[in-house]
Amino acid sequence: MGFEQFGFVSYVSQAKIGEFTEYLINNRLMGTKCKKCGKVYFPPRGDCTSCLGEEIEWVEIKGEGKLVTYTQVNFAPTGFQEDVPYILALGQLNSGQHVFARFSKDVLLEQMKIGMAIQLVPCKIDEERVIYEFQMP
């Protein structure tokens, strides 16, 4: 299973959690849960790096959370120049995990407020590529 379909530009093609992109293609936001200690990871991890458990299962992630911080990028690195401006944000899901993602293009910088409610959703970039993004709930 490949990871190369993840992101606007991907830098990693091979990973244990390659199925993650398959789930995103099918519009499902999935994390991993350790069968031993029960810890839930999002983004997913191939092993439980906390209790060292190697048995994991895929679990549905509810994307509700709040905005922790953000920026609007006007000057982008190679590979992303055509996307500017875009908003990068750090959110915290109600289940506790922090998530780094872009905001949906239909949300404006002026609407951003730290602490506001946000929703993380799977998102198709084009025929090939998938990612997740924050939206206003």
Partner: protein, 386 residues
């Protein structure tokens, strides 16, 4: 066998766009100044060299070998030390360990970066990959964007304003006029800083350091060699190195400081037996204006929430409570990643030897250097004493 470890020679190249200089030319320039700075240190008196650079900006792989060759430091040991923008002070820490253990008597630390062979957006891409390439870089990250997110969190938590950030830039650019090795060497008004284009909100062009070419060199020695090869050795009193998860998402809030810096500062203050109020002069890693305010808090110069007040009240100007970045800082010197930490230490060594010229802090006895790798993944703190 003596216990103290000294810096006996410091050097750096001019920082900036150096279109006629390769990594060999830049490191030679820094090494030459450092050798001249010692008292007749010969090439064969150097027992090992540590080369510091962040990978990906120039094409040379395994660069320690070519630098040691060009500086005629064979057949002594040489190798590369990498910790992103903190590479050269992590190499200094490694050199200290070699000397302290008695493995080597004299070690050269040579940091460099050749950046302007690449376009600015290509550099952004390389730097963006100094974040997590699996779950963060695919969104289009860059160093300005990461630091901008810390700036936004700082503003939200402590009422820090864009003017407060700009004041850091104004201060550091002001002092660069007196640093002949700095990239800019010119003043900017607050209005000018605030009117430059937004790179990643709220950070504007003059809130960001410039990519630059440059090299630095520090010669480290044990006490007996220090007395032989230096008129005025400067002693390494405290060292601290800490780490923080690379991914923002794996960190603990609040996003207004770096755990790596808190840990590095704790270690360094403990080892040196000093407190923040004992520091006479400091160099902190101002890759962005917000990074300097973050450093004030992380180093205990003030409470985190008081860092905007510290710049407003000019407590870190020359003549203030703790003068910070009076050589111009990264903001005006330019930031050749692998050379920066060595350049900071060079400034502090000059201060402790009373050679600071127009920016000399009267009677400086204890100095602190704070060198951050990437978005705080690594922080190195070094405390020096005259």
């Amino acid at each position: 066998m003596t216990a103290r470890v000294a810096i006996i020679g410091v050097g750096q190249s001019s920082f900036g766009k150096r279109p006629n200089s390769s990594i060999r030319d830049l490191t030679f320039e820094a090494f030459h100044e450092a050798i001249e700075d010692t008292k007749n240190l010969g090439r064969k008196d150097i027992d090992a060299s540590l080369v510091a650079t962040a990978a990906g900006y120039d094409k040379q792989r395994s660069p320690a070998a070519v630098i040691a060759e060009y500086l005629e430091l064979n057949p002594q040991p040489t190798f590369l030390t990498e910790a992103a923008c903190a590479s050269s002070t992590v190499a200094l820490r490694t050199a200290w360990s070699f000397v302290k253990s008695g493995l080597h008597d004299v070690v050269a630390v040579i940091g460099y970066q050749k950046m302007t062979d690449m376009t600015s957006d290509a550099i952004q891409e390389v730097m963006g990959r100094a974040g997590d390439v699996m779950f963060e870089s695919p969104f289009g990250t860059s160093m300005p964007a990461y630091y901008a997110m810390f700036a936004r969190a700082h503003m939200d938590a402590y009422g820090t304003t864009e003017e407060d950030l700009a004041k850091v830039s104004v201060k550091n650019h002001y002092y660069s006029q007196f640093n002949p090795k700095a990239m800019f060497q010119k003043e900017f008004t607050l209005e000018k800083v605030l009117s430059t284009r937004v790179i990643a909100s709220p950070l504007k062009s003059l809130d960001c350091c410039a990519n630059a070419d440059g090299a630095s060199c520090l010669i480290v020695a044990n006490e007996s060699k220090a007395k032989k090869f230096a008129e005025q050795p400067v002693w390494i009193k405290g060292l601290g190195l800490g780490s923080t998860p690379m991914s923002l998402a794996s960190r603990n809030p609040p996003f207004t400081g770096f755990e790596s810096a808190l840990e590095a500062a704790r270690q360094a203050y403990t080892m040196a037996g000093v407190m923040p109020e004992d520091i006479d002069v400091a160099e902190v890693h101002d890759c962005f204006t917000i990074a300097e305010l973050i450093a004030y808090g992380d180093l205990g110069f003030c409470k985190r929430e008081d860092s905007p007040k510290m710049i407003r009240d000019e407590e870190t100007h020359l003549g203030g409570r703790i003068p910070v970045n009076i050589d111009g800082g990264l903001l005006s010197k330019g930031h050749p990643v692998g050379a920066t930490g060595g350049s900071q230490i060079r400034t502090l060594v000059h201060q402790l030897r009373g050679e600071g010229g127009k920016v000399q802090v009267d009677g400086a006895k204890v100095a602190l250097g704070h060198n951050v790798g990437g978005i705080g993944m690594y922080t190195n703190v070094t405390i020096l004493e005259a």
